[in-house]
Amino acid sequence: MPILSLPSVLTPLTGGEHTIPAVGTTVSEALDDVVRRFPALSPRLRDENGEPYPFVTIYLNDEDIRFIGGFDAPVQPTDELSVVPAVAGG
């Protein structure tokens, strides 16, 4: 089962959980599964139009999902999805 890893700043929305098992075969399905259990997370993962939320970057293992098909990228059971605040570095 894929794992969704969250930064500390989002854990108040998940009851303190940093890592959450997710069900799905794409990034989108995995995120939808987690959001069903933690609805408050939803606007921090996608904007109101379902597009990427500009202040987070989502990685599938080590790759920014924008390079591998975005929310449609396929997810394997052993994969880790990481949500990382986008405003960092430089």
Partner: protein, 415 residues
């Protein structure tokens, strides 16, 4: 000449406000808003007492002469010697570019680590000090690694430096010599940056360009302050600066705006021009498109110090550029080397690859009519060429060695 003295107070970092949702937060080693994850910025007391030109001019020659515009109350206690680099008239470069006057902001000679990153590190280390942090770190393309490692050695911090595995050897050595924990990561800068965001979150260290970023970035404003003061308390027509994450251009805009608001200078913010390499130009493309969404890229350029494919301040940099009436330009690797050589051959300054990008972009902007023959232009030269000699080695022709005989020199003269 006397140095103005204010009462000494314990150093404290300013509180923070989200630039997106405008919520206020206490001073903390935190870079994103807990509510919306937008970027946090320090909040300055609008009623604070500001110095006049004479008071600033009488202060020691460091970036702390502008301390009322840096994100602290009380006296800075760390990195007191950073800043105040020369602004050098460059008439031969002006002629080559076809502009009225050209000046070089020479951060390639910055103390202690020969790049503009000494400015932001000075601010970040005082934030670390104010928060009682003893471990600092960074994600870096090289110059920031050098600056953090040097400052940590001088100031007695433990440093964890994270860099891509394929940096220029001189930049690696110029970090390792100071004895930090130097971690080479298989991947690009963007991979390193993601790792450091997770490191800051997990270990609570002061990663200067992650969780100290709100304080760190403000240090770049001092380049704008110095340009204004060194020009005799006035602003140039245009400023050209390299862009990696986009923070420098963003903070130049903020700095010029703050000096205008303080009535230390008059007129309008200079037209700001951003420079990137063609192999990593996400901010240039954003400026060209005029929309609000960064499209990340996989960097492929010799300008490794600018090789950030997912720039954190790309949107704000683009907005600062376009609202100033400026523009942006991308140049290829050949043009970057030509830019390094043009700067060297007309000014006596050896800049790194980012300098080549800046000079070549200025030339491209002048040829395109964006910089005009009437313009007074400042080029921000942010790093030193001795760190990236491999970029130009192939372009330099060296003669065969000769015997130590006068006749051999005479033969050379004839060729």
């Amino acid at each position: 000449m006397t140095t103005a003295v204010r009462p000494t107070r314990a150093l404290a970092a300013l509180p923070l406000r989200c630039a997106s949702c405008r919520r206020d937060h206490e001073a903390a080693p935190a870079h994103v808003c807990p509510s919306c994850l937008g970027p946090l910025e320090p909040v300055y007391d609008a009623d604070r007492e500001l110095p006049d030109r004479g008071e600033i001019a009488a202060r020691p020659r460091s970036l702390w002469r502008y301390r009322e515009w840096l994100p602290f109350t009380g006296r800075p206690e760390r990195c007191l010697n950073a800043g105040w680099t020369p602004l050098i008239d460059a008439p031969r470069l002006a002629s080559a570019l076809g502009v009225s006057r050209c000046l070089v902001k020479h951060d390639a000679g910055s103390f202690p680590s020969l790049s503009f990153k000494d400015r932001v590190v000075a601010s970040a280390f005082n934030a670390a000090h104010a928060f009682g942090l003893t471990v600092v770190g960074c994600a870096s393309t090289g110059n920031l690694a050098n600056a953090v490692a040097a400052a940590a050695a001088r100031e007695g911090f433990q440093a964890w430096i994270f860099i891509p595995h394929d940096l220029e050897p001189a930049k690696v050595a110029a970090s390792a010599i100071f004895g930090p924990r130097l971690v080479r990561v298989r991947g690009t800068y963007d991979d390193v940056n993601r790792l450091c965001a997770q490191v800051a979150d997990r270990f609570g260290w002061g990663i200067v360009n992650v969780n100290l970023r709100a304080y760190y970035g403000e240090g770049s404003k001092t380049a704008a302050f110095e340009i204004a003061e060194q020009l005799g308390w006035r602003l140039p027509d245009a400023v050209v600066a390299p862009m990696a994450g986009g923070s420098l251009v963003t903070k130049l805009s903020k700095g010029f705006g703050e000096f205008l608001s303080a009535r230390l200078v008059h007129g309008v913010t200079p037209r700001l021009y951003g420079a990137q390499a063609e192999g990593c130009a996400p901010i240039v493309r954003l400026v060209e498109r005029g929309d609000d969404t960064i499209v990340p890229v996989k960097p492929a350029t010799i300008a490794k110090s600018l090789a950030i494919g997912n720039p954190a301040d790309g949107r704000t940099a683009s907005h600062a550029i376009r609202s100033s009436g400026g523009w942006a330009a991308a140049v290829n690797d050949l043009e970057i080397v030509e830019g390094i050589r043009l700067l060297a051959e007309t000014t006596g300054i050896f800049g790194e690859t980012a300098a080549g990008v800046t000079v070549a972009a200025a030339r491209a902007l002048a040829r395109a009519g964006r910089l005009t023959p009437d313009d007074e232009v400042v080029l921000c030269i942010t790093g030193n060429g001795l760190k990236t000699t491999e970029a130009v080695a192939g372009a330099l022709t060296l003669s065969e060695p000769i015997a130590p005989r006068l006749s051999e020199v005479a033969a050379l003269i004839k060729t």
